[in-house]
């Protein structure tokens, strides 16, 4: 399976460390399959806590292989900024979708599913389904 067909994943957190660590975790748990394009977009450009539309747009462009881009976010301004960028229409790659999912579990589900060559809708469904995973 060629890398061109894989859905890209962007992980947006208020914290650069959280975004990068969750990306590393999800890629690690995806194991030895094809390398899914995953990019963290964490914190502000200055390195503080917050959300940067520039980092999000750059991350989305970097993982776009033509099969769509799934964006997972933590909360607050991360969600609102992605929604505002999607409404703008020209700052994110075509077929970019904000996925409604828990951040860590959803990222793992999205990356593992994307590694099978699944399409954007399947990646989104897997990430959203992570909400139903009860721990107790």
């Amino acid at each position: 399976m060629s890398d061109e067909q894989l859905v890209g994943i962007v992980l947006v957190s208020h914290s650069a460390q959280v975004a990068a660590s969750v990306a590393e975790l999800a890629k690690g748990l995806a194991g030895g399959g094809p390398a899914v394009p995953v990019a963290p977009a964490g914190g502000t450009e200055g390195g503080g806590l917050g959300t940067s539309s520039e980092l999000i747009a750059a991350a989305a462009a970097s993982v776009d292989r033509g099969a769509g881009v799934a964006v997972l976010t933590d909360l607050g301004s991360a969600v609102l900024t992605v929604k505002a960028l999607l409404a703008e229409g020209d700052e994110l790659p075509e077929r970019t979708r904000l996925v409604d999912a828990p951040f860590v579990e959803g990222a793992v589900a999205a990356v593992v599913t994307a590694s099978t060559g699944a399409d954007l809708a399947a990646v989104e469904a897997a990430a959203t389904e992570a909400y139903t995973y009860r721990k107790v």
Binding site: T44, G48, G76, A84, A87, E88
Partner: protein, 199 residues
């Protein structure tokens, strides 16, 4: 009629009052938020003024669209996409006319406020910027001064409310008794409009 220069004055006046009130906005954001509202908006509106000077957009719609885009890309907090959407959607609704009437502005601004409600999911009474913006929109048909008064009263009226949206909603009942920082900065935006009109 209101031309691009009027809209530039609106943004410049708002930037100046956000500058002046930044510490107060951040102080309001300390007990119920994450204590960054003043500094975030200050950074955003400083970028707005710089971009307007550099790009000199020629129409009212272009001024607001550029301002909104700047806020989304520079604020770094939730107020960025919210205010950015407000101004951008208002700007888009104004189209590419060289001049617009106060009525056209009122109508476009209502579209902007509606877009903010859709984006953030907040309704009147949730203790958010909507509590200043909706009364302002309703009064905008009368005069800019009436809108300013309505926004200021709306902001003050958030004090006894319990927050139901955003970071402040996590503190639950403890949000009661604090004026909402977003409603307060929204009142500054509407005051800037009256100031641009020389009222």
């Amino acid at each position: 009629m209101l031309d691009a220069d009027f809209f530039r004055r609106w943004m410049t006046a708002t930037a100046a009052s956000v500058d002046r009130e930044a510490e107060r906005l951040t102080a309001l954001d300390s007990p119920i938020g994450d204590a960054d509202h003043g500094s975030n908006l200050q950074r955003g509106f400083t970028a707005v003024v710089a971009a307007l000077e550099k790009e000199a957009p020629a129409t009212p719609g272009a001024v607001l669209t550029l301002a909104g885009r700047q806020l989304i890309s520079t604020v770094g907090g939730a107020s960025g996409p919210l205010y950015g959407t407000l101004l951008r959607r208002t700007g888009k609704a104004l189209g590419d006319a060289d001049e617009v009437s106060a009525e056209q502005l009122a109508e476009a601004f209502r579209a902007g406020v509606d877009a903010v409600m859709t984006l953030g999911g907040a309704a009147p009474g949730d203790k958010t910027m909507i509590d200043a913006l909706v009364p302002a929109v309703d009064a905008l048909g009368d005069s800019f001064t009436a809108a300013r008064t309505a926004a200021e009263e709306g902001a003050v009226a958030t004090t006894p409310l319990q927050a139901r949206k955003g970071r402040a909603s996590y503190v639950g009942e403890r949000s009661i008794g604090h004026q909402d920082p977003g409603a307060t900065s929204s009142a500054l935006l509407i005051a800037g409009l009256a100031e641009a009109a020389g009222e």
